[in-house]
């Protein structure tokens, strides 16, 4: 089995690739100008920020980066393409010959990485079609892999690794990836075009694998063709596109010059899965547990890295788990260290306590000794109160009152402990 991908990633730049229109507008056709509308006489100007992002991706995917990069016109007619050509790359793309390490050390080859402009968005109604040119000219990076992926598991692993690398470059794709999937179990190459999202991509691949397997088992031939993915049915269907080499008549884009990439900083990329691996080995914890926490969470990784005593890795992970559970924002290292102390002492921790820790309020460890509180609750919780509680939830109020009077703990927290004791 051979699977290769062409992944399109939208770059989170402030403005579009060739004009100063905002790349983040929401109201349809509100961020447009003569350049991204392809008006006669308008000329493109390259957005340096987009070029830096693209070079960063190529660098992180171990590509050979071209010192000078240039653009071409790819000519084809479609209503969403305002100039009837897309400015993309061919002869001197951003990078070539890279790889992504995933699937337990296996390398998936990256054939090329190129920077190009997106087309307008087509919105189809029953008897009309609308075009939103806000998307026209948004910078895209196309990542073309070698057909090195050999199974659905490898596909998943590759996508997780790739998106994690992108996340650490500052591109949080949130599932909004557009991919062309090339997949062949026999000789014929089947291309499934324009799949949106990671989940759909995996579903499409699974469907194609099963479909082609069935055909091969039954002795039928798999046709070389272009298919498209129907999300509602979770299946792929053949398009009637002709299977000839497409003729785009590429020529160098004469309105742009070539661009030097040598002055662009090559920042050492962060491979979070590799770090998870190292920590797992060094501190004897489950790799998956760390990976889950840090692959798409820069802050979590920062906290782990910054914590001095890493031998308490289990506690650190526990603490990060609590932060992730109770709050979306970040936590200062100082507060995190306090949190770790509490965890070590086995203290009870919830959202309120977390915010107390952050505010720097003093929390006596005694008052929070959860085992002590639990023990006391158990003593107070007579069978008759348990029975009363079935009829009247307020029956436990006197326990809550007693505990909160003695310990610095909120009524709600006590109520939870009591309820847990009752249901146990």
């Amino acid at each position: 089995m051979k699977i290769g991908l062409e992944v399109h990633v939208s770059l989170p730049t402030k403005s579009k690739l060739f004009c100063s229109c905002s790349a983040k507008a929401s109201e349809p056709n509100s961020a447009v100008c003569p350049i991204c509308m392809g008006f006669p006489g308008a000329k493109p100007m390259l957005n340096e920020e987009a070029l830096r992002f693209a070079v960063g991706i190529a660098n992180a995917l171990h590509c050979k980066i071209n010192d000078r990069v240039s653009f071409v016109r790819k000519v084809y007619f479609y209503p969403d393409l305002p100039k009837s050509y897309q400015i993309t790359q061919l002869y001197e793309p951003i990078g070539i010959n890279g790889f992504v390490e995933c699937c337990d050390g296996k390398r998936i080859g990256i054939r090329r990485i190129q920077l190009e402009e997106d087309a307008a968005k087509i919105i189809r109604g029953d008897d009309y079609t609308l075009l939103d040119f806000n998307r026209s000219g948004i910078p895209l990076v196309e990542i073309v892999t070698e057909p090195d992926i050999k199974s659905e598991d490898e596909l998943r692993s590759f996508l997780t690794e790739l998106t994690s690398i992108l996340y650490y470059i500052g591109i949080d794709i949130e599932g909004e990836l557009k991919t062309d999937l090339n997949i062949s179990l026999a000789d014929a190459r089947v291309e499934v075009k324009n799949i949106t999202g990671i989940r759909n991509l995996i579903d499409a691949a699974r469907y194609e694998i099963q479909r082609q397997e069935k055909l091969i088992k039954s002795g039928a031939k798999v046709a070389q063709e272009t298919r498209s993915y129907i999300e509602a049915k979770k299946e792929t269907v053949g398009t009637r596109e002709k299977e000839t080499e497409e003729e785009y008549g590429f020529i160098p884009e004469p309105d742009l010059t070539s661009y030097d990439t040598t002055h662009m900083q090559r920042i050492k990329p962060i491979y979070a899965s590799k770090i998870a691996d190292e920590y797992a080995k060094a501190y004897n914890v489950d790799k998956k547990l760390i990976a889950e926490l840090i692959l798409f969470d820069k802050h979590a990784l920062e906290l782990i890295d910054a914590t001095k005593d890493k031998h308490e890795m289990k506690h650190i992970l526990n603490g990060i788990g609590l932060i992730k559970k109770y709050r979306k924002g970040e936590m200062k290292l100082e507060a995190f260290e306090k949190l770790l102390e509490l965890i070590k002492e086995g203290g009870y921790i919830d959202e309120e306590i977390l915010s107390k820790i952050e505010k720097g309020e003093k929390i006596s460890t005694e008052s929070l000794n959860i085992d002590l509180i639990k023990k006391e609750v158990r003593q107070l919780l007579t069978p008759s109160i348990k029975l009363d509680y079935r009829k009247n939830p307020k029956a436990i109020n006197f326990i809550i009152g007693k505990i909160t009077a003695k310990y610095k703990i909120s009524p709600r927290e006590v109520a939870e402990i009591v309820k847990k004791e009752i249901s146990d």
Partner: protein
């Protein structure tokens, strides 16, 4: 004194612009210099813009039906710079559709030669040359890809300056061949060129190809004739041209002759590159966003585009087809990439010669033909007429056309070519020529007596 300074100093009546417009409209009905006249002009030194330059709020069609009714929402950089500097827009000048032509006959209305209306004005900046020839105080902003300034300037007896490629921003110029399109200036004398050039040239944040190189004026007092090109010229023109060379020789210029091994390939190289780029530039005209529009949206998009694109003129269609062919995958190496190689080779040959001095040549191998005769020429015959203007245009070299003789009542023009960014030198050269050569004009609209 240049006419811009002169214009400021002369006493003009309060109805100056109104009278000027009345006269201009009358004459324009016969000569078709302007495709659009700005009737609200009432101050400033008039400039016209070739109809492939975007002027905000003014219909801009590049003489093409496919852009009928297109009103740009922005000004071309050159237009913006002139409007910010006491220049006033007087109108859009006529041209061959998208700049595709050497005689101005691929237009909706054919511009006529002011010296004799039976004759062509030259193209593709036909209207710009006619406007310059009939208006006393005016400069024309024109554009040349393969000779579109020098040719009409030469046929209409005006000075036509094409700068170094990249010296003037192309933002707002409706593209023909982006790697060769050059905005330039036509005026009645070379003296009017430099002040306008200085205003409109220089880097622009809207055109990545603009250069910030400084402009020089290096004159080595040597004029070089390329023999293979002079051999293409009519006998009569050759005689008059050689007479001019004698005159220049007497003024202290040495005259030398050279030949260039690959000069014969320049026409093919030029047309292959120009058509390849043009075919991509014209792809955007599909009849539904601007200009000519089809309202029937029931069609499949391919049918819709095909129907809209049927309104291109014949020469535009020819260039789209040939241009699409030469960049198709199976012949691209043979045509398109070879043409680029020829351009590089020719550029280095020319630059080497130009280190010694200027190149000087007649602009066209023939005098202005009659309109009806020009129409009879085959496309290939027309393309071959550009043999003398193509080398500097293909290689992005600055050149200037100027009148040097009148024969049969029609002006003849010569061109002087120099190295990149030595633009001032050839403007200065023509200023020197003008000192004892009197240019003739048949009309002087706007003259104050």
């Amino acid at each position: 004194m240049n006419s811009i300074k002169e214009f400021v100093s002369i006493e003009k009546g309060s109805d100056y612009y109104q009278k000027l417009l009345e006269e201009l409209v009358r004459l324009n009905e016969r000569l078709h210099a302007f495709s659009n006249i700005n009737f609200s002009i009432n101050s400033g030194f008039p400039f016209s813009a070739k109809d492939n330059l975007c002027v905000k709020g003014v219909e801009t069609t590049a003489s093409s039906k496919i852009l009928d009714g297109y009103i740009p929402p922005y000004n071309a950089t050159v237009v913006e710079r002139l409007l910010n500097n006491e220049f006033s827009f007087i109108g859009k000048t006529n041209m061959d559709e998208f700049g595709f032509g050497s005689f101005g006959i691929n237009a909706q209305e054919i511009a006529r030669n002011p010296f004799d209306e039976r004759y062509v004005a030259g193209g593709s900046s036909s209207g710009a040359a006619v406007a310059t020839s009939i208006l006393k105080y005016h400069v024309a902003i024109a554009e040349s890809t393969g000779g579109s300034i020098a040719t009409p300037a030469s046929f209409c007896g005006v000075v036509g300056f094409t700068p170094t490629y990249s010296a003037i921003s192309r933002y707002g110029l409706i593209d023909y061949s982006n790697s060769m399109d050059k905005i330039g200036i036509m005026a009645r004398t070379a003296k009017d060129i430099k002040p306008v050039f200085d205003l409109i040239r220089g880097p622009d944040g809207y055109d990545s190809t603009t250069s910030d190189s400084s402009i020089t004026s290096i004159n080595k007092k040597k004029l070089i004739v390329i023999d293979q090109l002079l051999d293409l010229v009519d006998q009569r023109i050759r005689e008059l041209f050689e007479k001019m060379l004698d005159k220049l020789n007497a003024k202290g210029y040495s005259i030398e002759h050279r030949s260039i091994d690959i000069i014969d390939a320049s026409i093919a190289s030029y047309y292959i590159i120009a058509m390849a780029e043009a075919s991509t530039n014209l792809a955007r005209y599909t009849g539904f966003k601007y200009g000519f529009k089809i309202e029937d949206f029931d069609k499949d998009y391919n049918e819709f585009f095909t129907e809209a694109r049927a309104v291109f003129g014949e020469e535009a269609k020819r260039r789209i087809l040939l241009g699409t062919f030469v960049r198709s995958a199976n012949v691209k190496d043979k045509y398109y990439f070879k043409a680029l190689k020829v351009r590089d080779m020719l550029s280095s040959r020319l630059e080497k010669i130009l280190e010694e001095g200027f190149i000087i040549l007649p602009v066209m191998p023939i005098p202005a033909p009659k309109i009806e005769d020009a129409k009879k020429l085959t496309p290939l015959q027309v393309y071959k007429m550009d043999a003398l203007t193509i080398p500097p245009n293909l290689c992005g070299l600055p050149h200037i056309a100027f009148p040097y003789a009148y024969d049969n009542g029609l002006p003849l023009g010569a061109e002087v070519i120099t190295s990149k960014f030595n633009d001032y030198a050839i403007i200065d050269f023509v200023e020197e020529w003008e000192e004892d050569f009197e240019y003739k004009f048949k009309y002087n609209i706007g003259e104050v007596k």
